[in-house]
C-alpha cells in the first residue's frame, strides 16, 4: 500500500504542509496539477523525506489534484487527515485575503486543493433570539482586524427601501450586534437581509466556516411576537438557501410555514 500522509493541511500563512509518519522513498516528488489548465507545480519531498511544504497562496482558482510522482509514474497522494479543523478554518479567515485555499479529502482518501476567490463576509457563529432582541455573535472574515473603524449592522428590507442601522461592537475581527424585536415589528411586514458595514467593507451576514452548508434545513430559530400599532408581528431569524442570515417579520397568522 502507498504511504499515507498523516498531515495534509494549508495553514493561515497559505503554506501547504504534507507529512508522512515514515520516510517516503528517495526521488518521490509532490505534484500539484490544475484541473482546468493542466498547469503543474512540482516540489521535492524534503525534511528527511518525511514532509513537503510549499506556498500555495498564488495558485490559480479552481481545483488542483495532488499526486506523488516517482520515475515518471503518478500515484494519488493519500491521507487519513480530514484536511482541516474548524478552528483552523476560522483562523484562516481571520486574515485579510482575496483568495482562499483549502484541502478537500475525497472519500477514497485522495487530496485536492480548492482555490477560490473570496470577498469579506460577516461569519455568524451564534444567534440568540430572546428577551425581545436578536443578538448575533460572529467575526469578520477575510478582512483582518479593522482597528479604529466604526461598525454598523444594517438590516435592509428585501422589497422596500426600509433600513434599520445599529452600532456594533467590534474587537479584533469579533463582532456582537443586536436588533430589538419591537423596532423590526414597527416596520411593515418584510424579510430583512443583514449586513455588517465596517469602513468601506459591506459584509453579508452568513455562516460558511462551519463546514455545514444548507443550514436552512438543519436548524430553526424560535419566533418572538411583538405588538406594534395595534397589530401583532412574529419576528424570526432564518437562513436563506445560501446560508445567509435573514429575519422574517410577518403579521401573526400570516407567517410562512
Amino acid at each position: 500500500m502507498d504511504a499515507v500522509a498523516n498531515h495534509c493541511r494549508v495553514g493561515a500563512d497559505d503554506r501547504l504542509l504534507v507529512r508522512w509518519p515514515a520516510p517516503v522513498p528517495d526521488g518521490h516528488r509532490l505534484v500539484l496539477r490544475h484541473r482546468a489548465s493542466g498547469e503543474t507545480r512540482t516540489e521535492p519531498i524534503t525534511g528527511g523525506r518525511h514532509s513537503v511544504e510549499l506556498d500555495v497562496g498564488d495558485l490559480a482558482s479552481g481545483t488542483w489534484t495532488l499526486v506523488i510522482e516517482a520515475g515518471g509514474l503518478d500515484r494519488p497522494l493519500l491521507t487519513d487527515d480530514p484536511g482541516f479543523s474548524l478552528d483552523g478554518l476560522r483562523a484562516y479567515a481571520d486574515r485579510p485575503r482575496e483568495r482562499a485555499v483549502g484541502v478537500v479529502r475525497t472519500p477514497e482518501g485522495r487530496v485536492k486543493l480548492r482555490v477560490r476567490k473570496v470577498t469579506p463576509h460577516a461569519e455568524v457563529e451564534a444567534v440568540h433570539p430572546r428577551d425581545g432582541e436578536i443578538r448575533i455573535i460572529g467575526r469578520l472574515a477575510y478582512t483582518g482586524p479593522r482597528p479604529g473603524e466604526s461598525a454598523r449592522l444594517v438590516a435592509a428590507a428585501r422589497e422596500s427601501e426600509a433600513r434599520l442601522v445599529r452600532d456594533v461592537r467590534l474587537g479584533g475581527t469579533a463582532f456582537q450586534a443586536s436588533l430589538a424585536v419591537r423596532d423590526l415589528a414597527a416596520a411593515e411586514p418584510a424579510l430583512w437581509d443583514l449586513w455588517l458595514d465596517v469602513g468601506d467593507v459591506h459584509a453579508r451576514l452568513v455562516t460558511r466556516l462551519d463546514d455545514a452548508p444548507g443550514k436552512r434545513g438543519m436548524l430553526s430559530y424560535p419566533r418572538q411576537v411583538a405588538e406594534s400599532g395595534g397589530r401583532e408581528m412574529a419576528v424570526r431569524p432564518y437562513y436563506t438557501d445560501r446560508d445567509q442570515l435573514a429575519i422574517s417579520c410577518r403579521l401573526v397568522g400570516a407567517e410562512a410555514p
Binding site: N6, D80, P82, R105, P107, E108, G217, P222
Partner: protein, 393 residues
C-alpha cells in the same frame, strides 16, 4: 468452494445488503461467489460491488423488463397474488408474491452452489424447506428473536432445524435462538458484521463536535440524545451535536432542538455518502439507540478514531463497546446519565485521546478479513463429512 448469497433486494441501500456485499467481496478473493437478488428494480445496485462477485436476480421489476415465453403470462397472473410460502408475519411480506414463491422455489430446488447463505427470515425458511441436502445451507438472522410475532417463531422452530447452521450478529441473539430451537437443531454461530477494507480518515480530536448517524426514527433515540445534549451545553456551550440522517422524525427533532434553545448547538445534517469523513471531523460518537441489533456505526466510528458514548441497550452496543476502554455505556433511555458520560469525555481530553487510541485498535477485531476467516472456518467444518442429518431431501 462456490458460495451463493440470497438477498431480497440487492439493488437497494440497506444494512443487510451492505454487509453482505462486504463479506461476499472478501470471500471472493479465495472463492467463487455469487449474489442472487430475489428482486431487481434498477440496472445497477446502488451500493458498490466488486466485479469479482457475480450478481443476478430472480424477479425483474424494471418497467421495461421482458419475461421470456412461456413465463410471461404466468408472471402477470402470479405477481399480484400474495405469497403462499412466506408467513404473513415476515416483516417484508408485502415484497413477496406468488410469483416470487415460484421463482425462489425453482432457484432453491437446484441452486448450483456448494454453500447457500440466506439473509432474512423468509428466505431462511424457504431454504430450509426446499434446498437439497448436498448444499450447505446457512440461515442468517440480522434481527433479534424477540421482535418477531409468535406465529413466525413457530415457523422457525419447525423449519430452522433443517438448516446446516444459523448465524446471529450478537452472542445474546445466538443464545436466544439456541434456547428457542428444539433439541438436535442446527448449530447457532455468532459472527458479527465486518468492516470493509479502506483508508479510514482519523479524527484528530480537535473539533468540539459530537456526531450521531442513522435513520431518523424512534428506535434510534435521537430525542433522548437532544435532551441529553441540552445538559452538555449548559457546561460546554462551545460543543456542537451533528445528527446525520433522514427519516420521518427529522422535523420533529429539529423543533425539539429549537424548543430547548439548542439552535446554536444542534444541527440536523443531511445524510452523506462519506459518513466516515464526517466521523473524522468529530471527537465523540453518540449512540443513543433504544435497541440496536448490531451497531455497525460504532465500528465505523472506531475505525475513524472516535470513542463512543452509548446506551447499554439490547443488543449490539454492549458486545462491541468495552466500557471504560473504547467508550462509555450508560443505563438505557436515561438522558441524564448519557449527558454525564458526554460531559466526562468532553471535559477530560486525556481520557478522550486514550479511548480514541483504543477505539482504533478495537476496529481491527471487526476487520472483514477477520470476519471472513470465521465464515470460512465454519463453512469448512460444515462441509467436512459426516454431515449432520438435517432432514432435507
Amino acid at each position: 468452494m462456490k458460495i451463493t448469497f440470497l438477498l431480497l433486494e440487492a439493488f437497494s441501500i440497506d444494512g443487510t445488503v451492505r454487509c453482505t456485499f462486504t463479506l461476499a467481496e472478501e470471500l471472493s478473493r479465495r472463492h467463487d461467489v455469487e449474489i442472487v437478488s430475489v428482486l431487481r428494480d434498477r440496472d445497477r445496485p446502488l451500493l458498490p460491488l466488486s466485479d469479482r462477485v457475480r450478481l443476478r436476480s430472480l424477479v425483474d421489476l424494471r418497467p421495461e423488463a421482458k419475461i421470456a415465453w412461456p413465463n410471461a403470462g404466468r408472471a402477470e397472473r402470479l405477481m399480484p397474488e400474495p405469497s403462499a410460502l412466506i408467513p404473513p408475519q415476515e416483516r417484508s411480506y408485502n415484497k413477496f408474491s406468488a410469483w416470487t414463491d415460484d421463482r425462489i422455489g425453482r432457484f432453491l430446488r437446484r441452486p448450483r452452489t456448494d454453500v447457500l447463505v440466506t439473509t432474512r427470515a423468509g428466505l431462511n425458511l424457504l431454504a430450509a424447506r426446499f434446498a437439497p441436502r448436498r448444499v450447505v445451507v446457512i440461515g442468517q438472522e440480522h434481527l433479534q428473536l424477540g421482535i418477531n410475532e409468535p406465529e413466525i417463531i413457530d415457523e422457525f422452530k419447525e423449519w430452522y432445524p433443517r438448516l446446516d447452521a444459523l448465524t446471529t450478529l450478537t452472542a445474546a441473539d445466538g443464545a436466544d435462538y439456541e434456547a428457542a430451537l428444539p433439541a438436535g437443531s442446527c448449530p447457532v454461530h455468532t459472527i458479527g458484521n465486518g468492516l470493509p477494507h479502506r483508508l479510514y480518515p482519523r479524527s484528530r480530536q480537535e473539533n468540539r463536535v459530537v456526531v450521531a448517524a442513522g435513520r431518523i426514527v424512534w428506535i434510534k433515540g435521537y430525542d433522548l440524545l437532544i435532551s441529553a445534549f441540552a445538559k452538555v451545553v449548559e457546561k460546554y456551550p462551545e460543543w456542537k451535536l451533528r445528527i446525520y440522517g433522514d427519516g420521518p422524525r427529522r422535523e420533529e427533532l429539529r423543533r425539539k432542538a429549537t424548543r430547548l434553545g439548542l439552535y446554536n448547538n444542534v444541527l440536523m445534517m443531511e445524510p452523506t455518502d462519506d459518513m466516515e469523513g464526517e466521523f473524522a471531523k468529530a471527537s465523540v460518537l453518540a449512540m443513543s439507540s433504544r435497541a440496536e441489533p448490531f451497531g455497525m456505526t460504532i465500528i465505523e466510528a472506531f475505525a475513524c478514531g472516535l470513542p463512543v458514548v452509548g446506551f447499554d441497550c439490547p443488543r449490539g452496543p454492549r458486545e462491541i463497546i468495552t466500557a471504560g476502554h473504547d467508550g462509555l455505556l450508560v443505563p438505557p433511555e436515561d438522558p441524564d446519565a448519557f449527558a454525564e458520560a458526554l460531559i466526562r469525555l468532553i471535559g477530560d481530553e486525556e481520557l478522550r485521546l486514550r479511548m480514541a487510541g483504543h477505539a482504533l485498535a478495537s476496529a481491527e477485531r471487526f476487520d472483514i478479513s477477520v470476519v471472513a476467516e470465521r465464515w470460512e472456518k465454519m463453512l469448512t467444518e460444515l462441509r467436512a463429512a459426516p454431515r449432520r442429518a438435517s432432514g432435507r431431501r
